[in-house]
Symmetry: C2
Subunit: 203 residues, 2 copies
């Protein structure tokens, strides 16, 4: 028996994901989710009891995309430069495909900060391992003027912020030229990599 149509539950989850990520929890509307899924409101409540309920899984999934990426990359045996390049590329590609993701995650993590540690644990992430591995790398490279924590935050900052602040960048720096913004984003992969490597090599 071949499943030709997506199950209703799956259709709802996909529609909800789009709506929540685009508008945030407060801005999302159950009516819109129903429309996007091609069903009606009542059915949403049949599958998931409440809006809050429907939301939780979505956030977990969206946020979960951030964690394994960076863990996997930095635990491999590649040389540091390759790890860095790979991490930057996969983050930026992820956000090119999902431009609203950064704002969504930033926003909702403030609405419900206690969710974060819970998700981290359930994703099996081990930040202390990551930090330790990075400390070893820096030691070998004889880099002494930055700590692993600050370095990670710098990497994430330069990858994520340009998407979170896209309206300012497009509107102010590129005078609403969206093509210029797209090109700018493409350049970021190389620019961020070079900027970080230059900083680490210096002194």
């Amino acid at each position: 028996m071949v499943q030709l149509e997506k199950s209703t539950e799956l259709k709802i989850l996909e529609a909800a994901k789009q709506e929540f990520i685009e508008r945030g929890f407060d801005g999302a509307r159950m009516q819109k989710i129903a429309e996007r899924a091609g069903i009606n409101k009542a059915l949403l409540h049949y599958y998931f009891r409440s809006k809050e309920n429907l939301f939780k899984g979505i956030f977990r999934e969206a946020f979960g995309e951030f964690i394994p990426k960076i863990m996997a990359t930095f635990q491999s045996n590649l040389p540091f430069e390759e790890k860095l390049k790979s991490a930057i590329n996969s983050y930026i590609d992820l956000f090119i495909k999902n431009p609203h993701l950064p704002v969504f995650v930033i926003n909702e993590m403030h609405r419900n900060p206690s969710l974060i540690p819970e998700i981290i644990l359930s994703e099996g992430a081990k930040p202390e391992i990551l930090l330790h591995a990075l400390a070893e790398e820096l030691k070998q490279m004889k880099v002494k003027h930055i700590t692993p924590v600050h370095l990670i935050v710098n990497i994430l900052s330069m990858c994520i912020f340009p998407f979170a602040a896209s309206p300012i960048i497009t509107g102010v720096l590129f005078m609403n030229d969206k093509i210029a913004y797209q090109q700018f984003i493409q350049e970021r992969k190389q620019v961020v990599f070079d900027f970080i490597m230059n900083s680490l090599k210096s002194k």
Copy 2:
């Protein structure tokens, strides 16, 4: 005649600013604003006709804090390193005083992107002047591996993102130790400055 109590209008504006910045437009409640101001809902509508109306001035004021800072700094005659240090310090100090500001601005600029260019203009900011001045600086320093736009975005990223993502940083990297996060933020001023200068000096 000495004004002992704040005017009602001022009390409302302060209360609204807090509520909007903490919860965003969709999450803010007129009832809560009234409570914070020590008055009732009806009076809000007497002074400001609508929620949208009350919001606009707040956003303009909050966002306006970003623009003049960076413009003023980079148009001075100080050497580049001093300008950079001054810009970084004043941004980070601003966010230490107003930790919710970055999330608020990021969030609302997506809810209403057309507001941004409007405010930029009314603040009298001239991005092209800033970019041109920065291009001159980089030329004199013989820096060729980064453009002014990417450099500005890098600076803003590393100053703003650590506040926007504070729950992740506190929860994941510091295992909910808020004192450790505070200290981390204090370190950022020096770390970001060094990181950027190192990158520019390299090669």
